[in-house]
């Protein structure tokens, strides 16, 4: 269903890089990538996953997962744990803990604490652990500063360095507006995936472009990087990728 796109991004392996960052341009929807990665992680036996819902509710990932052929409800509470910030804010209203600063903790600090608590309780029982955060730009909307978001990502990156087989995957929308933050967060990791629109407009057979940058070897003086560019099309039940030049006008 989504194997080809994960293969193109280099995220189809059991062991993932420590930190992966997904950048979305304005008006481009890259949440299909989160659904694809989530499905891949859930299929690996004894691999733990923590989903931090900031842009969509858990229900969205469940429905999208059903389209891709996996049922998140089966895994929830076992290998899948969810921090649903949006649902908390909807059910508790303006008195929700994410909107207040209990004990002087900011939103990002509270989130790091919750993530750490989840990792502490679940990491030991799992072969690998993945933290998916969708999406960082909501933190800006909820009042977090650029510095706080940067600190939040650095805390997560250090969490990934402290433990083997722990991967952090973040997504940032409107990366063209938060360009410096986006670059700084991407520098923390080994893989950066940029979801960009087609410059030439809209095409029925292609939704956009994925630019994948992967650090192969970070030496003392030079950094070896691999870059890849693929076109993608999100269908109802799968995601297809094309190499540039493959799609053309059919006569």
């Amino acid at each position: 269903m989504a194997t080809s796109v994960l293969l193109a991004c280099g995220l189809n392996e059991q062991k993932l890089p420590g930190f992966v960052h997904i950048s979305e341009e304005s008006n481009v929807d890259g949440s299909f990538l989160i659904s694809c990665i989530l499905g891949q992680r859930l299929r690996i036996s004894n691999a733990g996953t923590l989903l931090v819902c900031l842009q969509h509710h858990y229900q969205h990932y469940f429905n999208a997962g059903m389209r891709l052929g996996y049922n998140t409800n089966i895994f929830q509470g076992k290998t899948l744990n969810v921090i649903d910030v949006l649902s908390d804010m909807a059910s508790e209203g303006l008195s929700c803990k994410w909107l207040k600063n209990p004990d002087g903790l900011t939103l990002t600090e509270q989130l790091v604490e919750d993530i750490r608590a989840q990792v502490e309780s679940n990491y030991a029982n799992r072969n690998s652990y993945t933290i998916l955060i969708d999406n960082l730009s909501i933190l800006f909307n909820l009042g977090a500063s650029k510095l706080q978001v940067q600190q939040f990502c650095q805390d997560l990156a250090s969490l990934a360095k402290e433990r083997d087989n722990l991967t952090v995957i973040t997504k940032l929308s409107n990366s063209d507006i938060y360009q410096p933050t986006d670059n700084n967060v991407a520098k923390l990791g080994q893989v950066r995936i940029q979801v960009v629109r087609l410059k030439s407009g809209v095409f029925r057979e292609v939704d956009g472009k994925l630019l994948i940058e992967r650090v192969l070897d970070e030496g003392s003086y030079a950094c070896e990087e691999a870059r890849k560019e693929v076109l993608y099309k999100v269908n109802d039940r799968n995601v297809k990728v094309f190499t540039p030049g493959e799609v053309g006008v059919k006569v």
């Binding site: 304005s26 008006n27 481009v28 929807d29 949440s31 299909f32 659904s35 969509h56 509710h57 229900q59 969205h60 429905n63 999208a64 389209r67 891709l68 949006l86 649902s87 804010m89 909807a90 059910s91 209203g93 303006l94 909107l99 207040k100 600063n101 730009s137 909501i138 800006f140 909307n141 909820l142 009042g143 929308s173 409107n174 063209d176 507006i177 629109r197 087609l198 410059k199 030439s200 407009g201 809209v202 095409f203 029925r204 292609v206 472009k209 076109l231 999100v234 269908n235 109802d236 039940r237 995601v239 540039p244 030049g245 799609v247 053309g248």
Partner: protein, 458 residues
Amino acid sequence: MTSFRKRNVQKPIPGTRTSPHTAQIITSSGNPYLDVVIGGGLPVGSICLIEEDRFMTHAKVLAKYFLAEGVLSKQEIFLGSLDDIPAEMLRRLPRPLTEVEQREEQIASEQTGETGENGLRIAWRYNDLPLVSSEHATAKIGHHFNLMEQMDSRMLYYANTVIWDDSHKDNWIGDGELSKSSSPSISMDQQPMAEAMGEEDSTAVEPEANVEADADGDIKPLDNNATTAATDSTANNTATVTTNTKTGSQPAVWPQNVFHNTRYGGLLNDIQQQLRDESFITGTKKHLCRVCLTSLGSPLWYDDNFGEDLLKFLTLLMASVRNCNSVCLITMPMHLIAKYDASLVPKIRQLVDYAIELESFAGSERETHPAFKEYSGLLHLHKMSALNTLAVHMPETTDLAFKLRRKKFVIERFHLPPELQESPANPQSALAADDIMASPKCGSNVLINSNASASLDF
């Protein structure tokens, strides 16, 4: 004992159906043409942003369609606005067409389609094609409305409606205290029938304050001064009505430290109170709530932390709307917001599921342009996001235009006027074609990039 089991089919929410393409529960936006563009209707839990035209004529019409559909489908309605008078807006909802009228209209439109405006037929084989291809729906939702006439007040009387106009701002109290004063919520349920009928009689024959019909049946906005004067007079007329409908209800709690501008807190608190009702809980499939906010982010909302508050409000609104059986339509003066802070526009669009811009020709050069004479404006689809599904519905074309006719708001595929002669006798029409081809707004207007010619993707 047999293996036969009675199938428990859950009753659908009134006014909704399941989309055969995305398996989502969708409800009509009120305008059948807009429904076709967005794939049958608005998915439950979605937020649709209508970016207002300069004179706010057309966006308000779409908002009225949205509200009228809610009244007819027996759904609950929350209407909030600072710029408009919500009670007055509700009284001016369009009247639904009866089945006979719908059939007559269909026959009339078919006849018009056959002969064309000037008795011109371009090619017979295009006759059967619809203006915008419609989806084959298993169950029909949505109604047709007549914009020239107003909805019967008895229909409004039985509608569950809550309105918000910030008239309560002095009644907010500190955290933890209970209010003894009236709530911001104004329920139309408790409005006396006779009073509603009386008001309806006085306003039923009034034409729309800010529109006038021209000879062709199309409606065009009046000039600014006239509109303002008309609005002012309406405001004076309805002030007494609004105060009469106020009723006391639950206490309100001051939302501390969340918003700098207290209006956002008040409005959000009211919306959340409304949406927390048991009948809107997801999965129960009992009722649907329609939240309509008009002119959100207009200059009346401005303060020092305008952008920060607006984004926070929209994020929390998104959380609330997605968490229950509700659908939301917001109209925003995006051209003014862009002048305030251009970076707010993509941030706002990120927080909604559908972003539709209405670019009206009124007051612009295009109003008298021969290429655009058939239309009132262009409709730009800026964003359509996949909610509770993987892929988003894409309309057949994104080159769309709208026209506000006397009785209805029509969205059509945008096309150039037919070339009747081999060489353009009128140099103006040649210029028109050039202008359209050069216009960045024409063509593929979804996610269009200004430096499109800079490079190719394939």
